[in-house]
């Protein structure tokens, strides 16, 4: 025993969280400097999954890059497919048939639900409640069934094409989607009862890792993470593309329901509420979808005009921006993908200061990052 007043020398501990860790959602590595359980500094180290998609993009044609966008954010392949198609169409000025646009919106919103389900499920699993994860997976399987019918795959859909979609909707698809929506609607209150408002869960999330609106904008948070900070901004509404202007829906923002605006709980609740809005969008899109062709005339050897375009789409994880430079050949000259999760990791070091190790897990989960997108 040391004499009274003589402090024991203490030392900060350096812990490697990841790249192999159950709740870093992939191969994220966080270098933690901790003082006991309290995190002094958490520095994310990304790049373990780098596949040089941008370099690949310079070697393949515009149409060939479509399957690679599947691998960008594999939980929201449809959204990435569609973002790529929209970007190229904007570059080349292709008019897409309205039915195709509606189909894209339908599949994108279905995919948004399924992506948010995984976000919800894996987040609760990170928080120690494993059961909601299984429920989320169960719902997601039904969406996967729908997608399998429409495009033949359950994960990497590669369904959207430049100028439209690869195939028209199969028979009874819209009815089945409606059935799913009717089934899914009552599930959200159930999730809320089961876990969202659970005392322990709320305590784990409220007031943890607050991203103020100013910080959120300055650090480039987008999508649900930005809205969780109380910023009412949604590209589907503020910079409308496709047929979103014709559809009525609300933008969900964090309200500081159980704590401060912009805490983990707000980010979580925005996702839960967005699933409801997606259901709303889907119902409208199903009611409005016109008949017609699903593919515009696009030459087989597709050469867009020389130019540069930056297109961004509201994906489940935020804005996926595509900066595309065309030199008039069949291959993109330069292609930069602004991945929302990648940008989100930038704020990580700032807002995790002074949290506990268990909170790091909550922060990663609340940002709903996905590694293939971070590392591209």
């Amino acid at each position: 025993m040391k004499a009274r007043g003589e402090a024991l020398p203490t030392q900060e501990m350096l812990i490697n969280m990841g790249p192999q860790h159950p709740s870093t959602h992939g191969v994220l590595r966080v270098i933690l400097r901790t003082d006991g359980e309290v995190v002094v500094n958490a520095r994310p180290d990304v790049g373990y999954l780098h596949r040089a998609l941008e370099k690949i993009g310079e070697r393949v044609t515009y149409a060939q890059f479509m399957p690679f966008t599947d691998r960008l954010d594999y939980l929201a392949s449809m959204n990435c497919n569609a973002a790529w198609a929209w970007a190229v169409e904007k570059l080349a000025g292709i008019e897409v048939p309205e039915r195709a646009e509606y189909i894209r919106v339908i599949v994108c919103e279905l995919n948004r639900i399924s992506s948010h389900l995984i976000a919800f499920g894996s987040f609760t699993a990170d928080m120690g409640a494993f059961t909601p994860f299984l429920y989320a997976i169960r719902e997601r399987e039904r969406i996967n069934d729908l997608f399998e019918e429409i495009c033949g795959n359950r994960l990497t859909y590669n369904y959207v094409r430049i100028g439209g979609v690869s195939a028209d909707l199969p028979d009874r698809f819209l009815e089945k989607t409606k059935e799913f929506l009717d089934y899914f609607d009552p599930k959200i209150p159930e999730y809320n009862d089961l876990i969202s408002y659970n005392k322990i869960f709320v305590h784990r999330l409220a007031n943890v890792a607050v991203a103020t609106p100013e910080d959120a904008v300055a650090y480039g948070l987008t999508g649900p993470n930005l809205r969780g900070s109380g910023v009412r901004f949604d590209l589907r509404r503020n910079e409308p593309y496709s047929v979103y202007p014709k559809i009525d829906f609300d933008i969900c923002v964090g309200t500081g329901e159980r704590g401060t605006v912009g805490d983990c709980f707000d980010r979580y609740m925005v996702r839960i509420n967005e699933m409801r809005e997606s259901v709303k969008i889907l119902r409208q899109a199903i009611a409005q979808i016109p008949d017609g062709p699903v593919m515009a005339k696009v030459p087989r050897v597709f050469k867009p005009p020389v130019g540069e375009v930056y297109f961004r789409a509201e994906n489940p994880r935020g804005e996926t921006g595509i900066y595309l430079i065309s030199d008039g050949t069949v291959n993109p000259y330069r292609l930069k993908i602004r991945a929302p999760s990648f940008v989100t990791m930038n704020i990580f070091e700032k807002i995790t200061r002074g949290l506990m190790i268990a909170d790091i897990v909550a922060v990663i989960g609340s940002f709903d990052i996905i590694l293939p997108e971070i590392d591209r």
Binding site: V60, A63, Q64, F65, M66, P67, F68, D70, T131, R138, E141, D145, E148, E149, I150, C151, G152, N153, T156, N158, S166, A167, P170, E190, D193, L194, I195, Y197, N198, K199, I200
Partner: protein
């Protein structure tokens, strides 16, 4: 924290926990909620558009290489040689399904629709080499050698016929020099070569020995074509059995 808040805290914890436990209990006791599919016994039916393993119907394949060019990951390799009939003959058509990402672009562009996705999704191998699907049952070199031989034969035959025709022409010219401009017939007298002899001479590849369609007339073409199909089918069956 006031005493009231303290008690409310406890109450909230108990109430929300009870709420959650009620839901899990309902799932726990309700057998209808079980959604597991007992995989090897119960099977899920892939949908019509399911993108499973690729299959190429080599009878219909025209060796146009569209699939090879469109494949983003270069998993299809195709070797074709120009046959005696000026059509492309597949020497080998391999798909490395270990590499394939099932994007379906190749199926979309295939002009004769010979390349299709099957519903197959089960495969396990112990070595990577087994992940390469061979659609042409024979060895590429064998096919190439055979075709080269046929081409040479056909060329020789054509040469012979040309020589013959020229000889005739020369003869005709010699006989009727005045008629010379009309004399050369673009298609010399059709003589379906080896129409009945070829299958016996070359049982391995009778189809291609059946003749040069350019030299064959319409009547001679038809039987030759029918002959073409039979052995091809046999070869295909052999391939399936191998799989």
């Amino acid at each position: 924290m006031g005493f009231k808040a303290y008690l409310y805290d406890i109450w909230e914890a108990v109430a929300t926990t009870a709420k959650g436990m009620r839901i899990t209990a309902r799932y726990g006791v309700d057998p209808r909620e079980t959604i597991t599919l007992q995989y090897p016994e119960e099977r899920w039916e892939p949908s019509e558009r399911y993108r499973g393993f690729l299959h190429n119907d080599i009878k219909r394949c025209t060796s146009c290489t569209m699939c090879v060019r469109v494949c983003p990951v270069d998993c299809i390799s195709l070797e074709a040689v120009r046959g005696a009939d000026k059509k492309m003959v597949l020497a080998s058509y391999d798909i490395n399904i270990g590499r394939c990402m099932y994007c379906g672009l190749c199926v979309e562009v295939c002009p004769p629709k010979s390349l299709v996705h099957t519903g197959g999704y089960e495969m396990a191998t112990v070595s990577r080499g087994e992940l390469i699907l061979h659609f042409v049952p024979e060895d590429a070199e064998t096919v190439k050698g055979r075709v080269a031989k046929q081409v040479a034969e056909a060329a020789a035959k054509a040469e012979a016929e040309k020589a013959k025709a020229e000889a005739e022409k020369a003869k005709a010219e010699a006989e009727k020099p005045a008629d010379a401009p009309q004399a050369p017939d673009p298609s010399p007298p059709p003589k379906p070569p080896g129409e009945e002899a070829a299958p016996f001479i070359q049982p391995a590849a009778p189809a291609f020995a059946a003749g040069n369609p350019e030299t064959a007339d319409a009547a001679g073409k038809k039987p030759a074509k029918e002959k073409e199909e039979e052995p091809a089918k046999a070869g295909d069956e052999g391939g399936e059995a191998k799989e």
